[in-house]
Amino acid sequence: MAERTLRQWLLTDTPTSRRHAKLSALYQGWLAFRSNTMAMVGLCILLALVLIAMAAPLLAPHDPFVQNLGNRLAPLGSEGHLLGTDSLGRDILSRLIYGARITLYIVALVALIAPVVGLLVGTVSGYVGGWVDIVLMRITDIFLAFPRLVLALAFVAALGAGIENAVIAISLTAWPPYARIARAETLTIRSSDYISAIKLQGAGGLRIITKHIWPLCISSLIVRVTLDMAGIILAAAGLGFLGLGAQPPSPEWGAMISEGRRFILDHWWVATMPGLAIFIVSLAFNLLGDGLRDVLDPKAGE
C-alpha cells in the first residue's frame, strides 16, 4: 500500500514542491529507461563490473601476479584455472578480475577530465562570445581535426608510457566534442528570458554560468560521455596493446592481449579472453549510452 502511494506521489501531475517535481521527473525518466531492455542489460553488466572490481580480492581464485612456470599456458577449464593460464603460469581469470579495476580507473579519470575541460571551454566560449569565442573555438576545431589515436601515441611518446600518461593523452584528444556541445547549449540558454531576468536581479557572469548554465548542459554531456566510454576503453586498450599504456606485470586487458598475441595460433585463449572482456564492457557502455540518449535527449535519436 505504502509503495503504491509512493508511486502515485512520484507520478503526480501537480507537484507540491520543487523537490517533488524533480523527483517525479527523475522517476519518469527511470521508467522510460527501464522499458529499454538493451539499455538495462548494459547497465547490469556495468554494475556487475563495478562490483567485480570492488570485490576483486574476494572473487579472484588466485593472486594475479603469482607465476607458476610449471603450469604455463594451461588450457580452458583446467583444474583450478577456469580460463587457463598465461605464458608465465598466471591465472587468466584472476588477472581479468583485477584488470577490471584498471579499466574502470582509466575510464573514470578520462570521464572526469575530458567533459570538465570541455564544459569550461564551451560555456566560457559561448557565454563571453566575441574574440574569446573565436579563439577558443578555433583551438577546439584544430584539436577536433586531429587523428586521435596517432596524437595520443605522440603524446605518450613525449610523456613516457604508463597509465596516468595514457589517461592524459586520451583526455587531451577527447575534450573537443564536449566543448562543442557545451557551447551550443550555452548559446541557446544565454538568450532565453529567464537568464535576462536573473541578470536584471544583478547576477554576475560567474554565477549565471555555474548556477544556471552548467546544470542544463549536464544531461547532454552525460549522454555523450556514456557513448564515448566505449571509445575510451578501446583507445586505452589500444595503447596498452602497443605497450604504451599500463606496463607489465599489470593485468591491463590490452596489455594481456599483447602478451597472448605471440601464442595466438597454438594457445588461442590467452589473447581471446581479455579481448572478450573489453568487447563486453564497451558493448555495455554503448547499450547504456543509446538508452540514456533516448531518455535524456529524445531529439538526437532516429
Partner: protein, 352 residues
Amino acid sequence: MALTEGSGKGRERASLPPWIKTTALTIGSIAMTMLGLLFVTFIIGRVMPIDPVLAIVGERASQSTYDAVFLELGLDKPLVVQFGYYIWDVLHLDFGTSLLNARPVSEDIARVFPATLELATLGIVIGIVIGVPLGVIAAARKGSWIDQVARVLALVGYSMPIFWLGLMGLLIFYGILGWVGGPGRVGIFYVDVVPSVTGMILVDAALDGNWDVFKNAFSHIILPASLLGYFSLAYISRMTRSFMLEQLSAEYITTARVKGMSEWDVIWKHAFKNIRVQLITVIALSYANLLEGSVLTEIIFSWPGIGSYITTALLSADMNAVLGGTVVVGLIFILLNILSDLLYKVFDPRAK
C-alpha cells in the same frame, strides 16, 4: 568546421564578391588547423625527455661536438624562431633524419606510405560496397530482420577492439582454416619479385602482368582490408540508414508512390539520389578514420605501412620518425576532413 562570419563592420565594408571572402576564410581556416597541428608536434618534440643532441652525437661525444650540433639544430635560438625553422623544414618535406637508420624520415615515409594507402583504399571499397546497400535496405525495410542485422553489425563494430578482431581473424582464417595468407604483404617466395613502381603491390603486380604475385598478395591483403572494411561499414551503414530514413519520410516520396512508381525506383532513383552528397562526406570521413585505424591493424598483420613505422619508431625512441609520421598522418586526416566539409558546402545548396 564552422566558418565564423565576419563582424558587422566587415560586412558593410565588403565590396568583394562573397565567394572570395568564403575562399579566403576557408584557406585561412585550413592554414590555421595545419599550423595548430605543427605547433602541437613541435611542442611534443620540445618537451620530450629525450635530448635531441645526445640522440645524434651519442653519449661519448666531446663537449665541442655537442655544442656544434646544438648550434646546428638552432637550439640556442628562442622557441618562436625554432618553430619558424620547424615550419620551414616541414614545408620542404624535411622531417630530419631517423635516429635509427640515419636516413631522411621523409624518404622512409614515402617508402612505407603506399602500403597503408593500398590497405586503407581496399578497406574503404569493401566498406562502401557492403555498407551503402546494407544501409539503404535497412532503411527501406525498417524493423525487418535485415535492419536488425545491420544494427547489430554496427553495434559490434563500435564495441570491438580492432586489434583483437584482427588476431581472431588470423587465428580462424589463417591458423585454422588456412584460407588466407598470413602476416606480411606477400609470401616469402614472392618478395621483391615485381619491380616497385607505385609501391602498392597489387598495382605493381598487375602492371608487371605477374598474376602469381597478384594472387598471393591478394590473399595477404584481403583479411586486414576486410577488417578495416568492417569498421568503416559499421559507420557507413548507420549513416546511410539515417539519411535514407529522412528522405523516405519526405513528401515527394509519398507523391512518387502515389503516382504508382515501383518501390525500387522510389528508393534508388529518388531517395538515394538525394543522399549522395551526404554519403560522400561520410565516406571521406571514414576514409580518414581508416588511415588512423590502420595503425593497430598494421601491427597485427606485420603490414609495413606508416602505422607500423610510427610504432616501431616510438618503441625505439626515434622521435624524428614519430613526429614526421604523426605530421603526415595528421595532415592527410585534416585534408580529408576539410575535403568532406567542402564537398558538402559546394554540392548541397541547403548548407549555406
